[in-house]
């Protein structure tokens, strides 16, 4: 039942919004993964970002796609929490450490998902920033890829979504959106240098000529 609802939600609502009302120009679609496990890392300016990433992957992969999302934001109330978990299919993570003894690894659920061969949508800046501006990539993405040298990480840069639905706005205004898909990168053995590698690739994509 929930699977059907999720499928219908993406087929009848999300895709018409992203493909017709917005309209996507996708560059290098052929680079995208055809199976899991994989991670798509993208810049984050709008709630639309997640929906666009869902739309550039084939619908048959839908059951495998899991956006990684902040618990504090999406679990604000029970309706939003239910919707986020079952329809969007998020993996909730804690953004701030509580500092309590024996605290679980915040990325534990992500690791389990990757072990199941799922495709994670991950926003390595940690939050939605100013439109068209990259924030510093945090080291979380490197911690996730540690000990997974086989795992492909696809850097993606999206233009225009921060204009279509900026942070704090509820009215969607149509804009064409450019989605640039980069070559996948793999774990290189060191947290800081992998973090920097992902950041560099995303910045390079953001500077590609439209």
């Amino acid at each position: 039942m929930k699977t059907t609802l999720r499928f219908l939600f993406f087929l009848l609502l999300v895709r018409p919004i992203t493909l017709v009302i917005l309209g996507l120009n996708i560059r290098h679609k052929e680079r995208l993964p055809t199976q899991g496990p994989a991670i798509l890392v993208a810049n984050h300016n709008s709630h639309l970002d997640t929906l666009v990433l869902f739309s550039i992957l084939p619908l048959r992969l839908l059951p495998k796609i899991r956006p990684v999302a902040a618990m504090d934001y999406f679990f604000r109330n029970s309706i939003l929490a239910w919707f986020s978990l079952h329809i969007i299919g998020i993996i909730p993570i804690r953004r701030k450490k509580t500092g309590a003894e024996g605290e679980e690894d915040p990325l534990k659920l992500c690791h389990e998902a990757l072990d199941r061969g799922e495709i994670l949508l991950y926003f390595p800046e940690g939050t939605r920033g100013e439109p068209e501006q990259m924030n510093r990539v945090r080291s979380g993405i490197a911690r996730l890829c540690e000990s997974r040298p086989e795992l492909p990480v696809f850097p993606i840069f999206m233009h225009g979504l921060g204009k279509a639905l900026p942070k704090g706005e509820i009215l969607l205004v149509p804009f064409f959106c450019d989605v640039f898909v980069g070559e996948p990168v793999h774990w290189n053995g060191e947290v800081e240098s992998f973090r920097a590698l992902v950041e560099d690739r995303m910045i390079a994509l953001s500077k590609e000529e439209k």
Binding site: G23, N25, G160, P166, L171, V173, P174, F175, F176
Partner: protein, 269 residues
């Protein structure tokens, strides 16, 4: 019995016509939407104008509703009077004065070309049948769009074959006097040949229509060239591979359509 069946037949043809007309208007409205969206995606917009842009989009269904109803008076004033004044007010109320004049100017030019001008193509469809007994609005639309396209192509080929003297190299290096002259003559010739089949235009009136479409198409083309030069881009988008974006396709119509429409309207409606 026979009479009854002919009445039923008559009604169903009319229904089909209305249906086809509404579908055509929806397609043209969608074309306006795509073109306006492409325009907004190209120009620099201020973040504070988010809601103004939302209102600007709403003019598209309203304008096409007025067209579908055939309310000529409302169709002709809605965008340049009501929408322009209202959007300006809405932008003023946001209260950001830096870049205000530039933003409202950019927005109005976009609506003018992508919604108001292209709306004229659509209004050809709802003109009274009596004005063009040959084929009604569809024939007029075909005449306009076909000649505009022919004009683009023939100006290109005449320019390729004979082009020497550039007209405005700073805006568009490919436009030459030879191309323009050859293209306008070709278009005018075809306008005269096609007029008796598709339009109410007499021979000399068709010469006028050909000149209007030829010169109007040229102007629309170089105007978009100037816009693209200003924005530093080559094509308006990669939406149609190898052919640029929607605006690249309809640039000539943005001038040719309203000019042709009002010429025709003045003479026959």
């Amino acid at each position: 019995m026979e009479l009854k069946s002919s009445v039923v037949y008559h009604f169903s043809i009319r229904d089909v016509q209305v249906f086809v007309m509404n579908i055509s208007l929806c397609i043209l409205a969608f074309l306006s939407f795509l073109a306006f969206k492409e325009y907004l995606s190209l120009i620099p917009t201020r973040r504070t104008d988010h809601r103004v842009l939302f209102w600007a989009y709403l003019t598209i269904p309203i304008q096409y509703y007025l067209i579908a109803k055939g309310w000529y008076g409302a169709f002709i004033v809605f965008i340049p009077v009501y929408a322009f004044l209202f959007l300006t007010l809405r932008m003023v109320l946001i209260g950001e004065t830096e870049g205000f004049l530039r933003s409202i100017g950019l927005l109005q030019w976009g609506l003018m070309t992508t919604v108001f001008s292209i709306g004229h193509v659509a209004y050809l469809l709802v003109l009274p049948k009596a004005g063009n007994p040959h084929g009604g609005g569809f024939a007029l639309l075909l005449y306009l769009v076909f000649l505009t396209q022919i004009n683009d192509v023939s100006q290109y080929w005449w320019g390729k074959a004979l082009g020497r003297r550039q007209i405005i190299p700073k805006v568009n290096r490919n436009k030459t006097w030879e191309g323009l002259l050859g293209g306008v003559c070709t278009t005018t010739l075809l306008a005269v040949i096609l007029a008796p089949f598709l339009t109410p235009l007499g021979r000399w009136a068709a010469v006028g229509a050909g000149l209007i479409i030829g010169l109007g198409g040229f102007t629309g083309d170089i105007t978009l060239s100037a816009v693209k030069r200003d924005l530093g881009i080559k094509n308006t988008s990669a939406m149609l591979p190898g052919r640029g974006g929607i605006l690249d396709r309809i640039d000539s119509l943005t001038y040719a359509a309203p000019l042709f429409f009002h010429y025709l309207h003045y003479l026959y409606y």
